[in-house]
């Protein structure tokens, strides 16, 4: 079967690849672009560690048909750091011990970014809702919620 040419923006840079029909965006990003920051957890939409932003909206890359992102702008965790500096969310995750094994972290950070880009001062309930599609098996969520609130300038652990 012939490959399909596909172009989109990846963290602000134009990329062009060839995909097989039915390839999901997670595979395209990891195997064809070499961006290993979105992780494979389940391939079923259940864990959220493959989360990316498509035109600023949170999407699950494992459930996104790669061809559907033609001409669109994809942001992954790889694009989050600002030059040599960590993004404030990444800093807050480190400061609040919000990553243990780290497997959920890429998805958590993208979900948190999607929230803060839209709502710079979320309530605790907003944060819980924003990461409700992301599973963490280590932290018990509290440090992650606190980190996101801290990054938003809210109180870390009130």
């Amino acid at each position: 079967m012939s490959k399909i040419p596909l172009q989109f923006r990846h963290n602000g840079r134009d990329v062009a690849i060839f995909v097989d029909g039915g390839t999901n965006l997670l595979v395209a990003l990891r195997e064809l672009i070499g961006d290993m920051t979105p992780k494979f957890g389940c391939g079923q939409g259940g864990c959220g560690t493959c989360s990316v932003l498509i035109d600023g909206e949170l999407h699950l890359s494992c459930l996104t048909l790669a061809e559907t992102v033609a001409g669109r702008s994809i942001e992954t965790l790889d694009g989050m750091k600002q030059g040599p500096n960590l993004h404030p969310l990444q800093r807050a995750f480190a400061d609040n011990f919000a990553a243990q094994c780290g497997y959920c972290t890429p998805g958590m950070l993208m979900a948190a970014k999607a929230l803060l880009d839209r709502n710079p001062s979320p309530s605790r309930a907003d944060v819980i809702e924003a990461i409700s599609g992301n599973i963490c098996r280590c932290t018990g969520y509290e440090p992650i919620i606190n980190a996101i609130l801290a990054a938003a300038g809210g109180r870390a652990s009130a």
């Binding site: 039915g22 079923q44 939409g45 699950l60 494992c62 459930l63 559907t68 929230l115 409700s132 599609g133």
Partner: protein, 272 residues
């Protein structure tokens, strides 16, 4: 395994491609189709898409609203005029699933999914379907009952009448994980009031049968009455009639039968 993806600029061409090829599957938001592909479902050899703007249209200004099949839950939540549909839209998935999943796909989502369709069933929605035969309007109840035979047809849009007041339409989803999770039971009630009495009661249930169903006995208990404690009790005790729930990881059939009346009572009495 690689599949062939066919993208059409207009919905009728997509409908034509679907009806011509039995192994073709329409891709809405893809939250269920991509799962199947990721699992290596070999029954799907062709995926059909339509980029037609008509499929993502929302017409929410008048007394009758129309939603294109490709409208996502996130878009419904962003639409102030669709406030009555916010509770069902918010009850689905996490934010990413709401950004991706469509109402068209929800009509086909098997249990424990299909929560939005429960709301649409209580609202007596009409489904506009395009098949090899042309376009036709199908009442949602008929659509859901014959869902397995709808393969090969394209849903274009869903329409329904806006409830007269916020109180007239109610929705409740019972899930074990909050704020998201698969449905143990999903309930929706439309209670139009005429001269102080309920006229045209609709109670719809999800996860109480192989597809979403109406609780007709409960509807009869409400019809022509005022929504008082005795009427609510009568409707609640009739809630399980005609249902055929099954066991799954979220709850047993027995448990569902036990609690459906409890949750219908809470829904009707406006309890949290």
């Amino acid at each position: 395994m690689a599949v062939t993806v066919k993208t059409f600029a207009n919905a009728s061409e997509a409908a034509g491609a679907l009806s011509a090829d039995r192994s073709a599957r329409y891709l809405g938001g893809g939250t269920l189709v991509m799962r199947a592909l990721n699992e290596g479902d070999v029954s799907i050899s062709t995926v059909v898409r339509a980029s037609d703007q008509a499929l993502t249209r929302i017409d929410a200004s008048g007394p009758r609203i129309m939603l294109g099949a490709g409208v996502t839950f996130a878009r419904i939540l962003a639409e102030r005029d669709l406030a009555f549909l916010h509770a069902p839209a918010r009850s689905i998935g996490g934010p990413a699933v709401r950004n991706m999943g469509t109402i068209g796909g929800n009509l086909f989502a098997p249990s424990p999914y299909g929560d939005f369709a429960v709301a649409l069933l209580a609202l007596d929605a009409t489904i506009a379907v395009q098949g090899g035969f042309g376009t036709r309007d199908v009442p949602i109840e008929e659509f859901l009952q014959a869902r397995d035979r709808q393969a090969g047809a394209l849903v274009l849009s869903v329409s329904c009448t806006r409830p007269a007041s916020t109180d007239a339409f109610r929705y409740r989803k019972i899930a074990r994980i909050k704020p998201k999770g698969g449905s143990v039971i999903t309930l929706a009630a439309h209670l139009p009031i005429s001269g102080g009495r309920i006229a045209g009661a609709r109670i719809a249930l999800g996860s109480m049968a192989p597809t979403q169903i109406r609780a007709r006995a409960a509807e009869r208990a409400l019809e022509g009455r005022s929504l008082d404690a005795a009427t609510i009790a009568a409707a609640a005790s009739a809630a399980g009639e005609g249902t055929s729930p099954s066991d799954n990881a979220l709850g047993s059939a027995w448990y569902r039968r036990e609690i459906v009346g409890v949750h219908l009572r809470r829904l009707l009495s406006g309890q949290e």
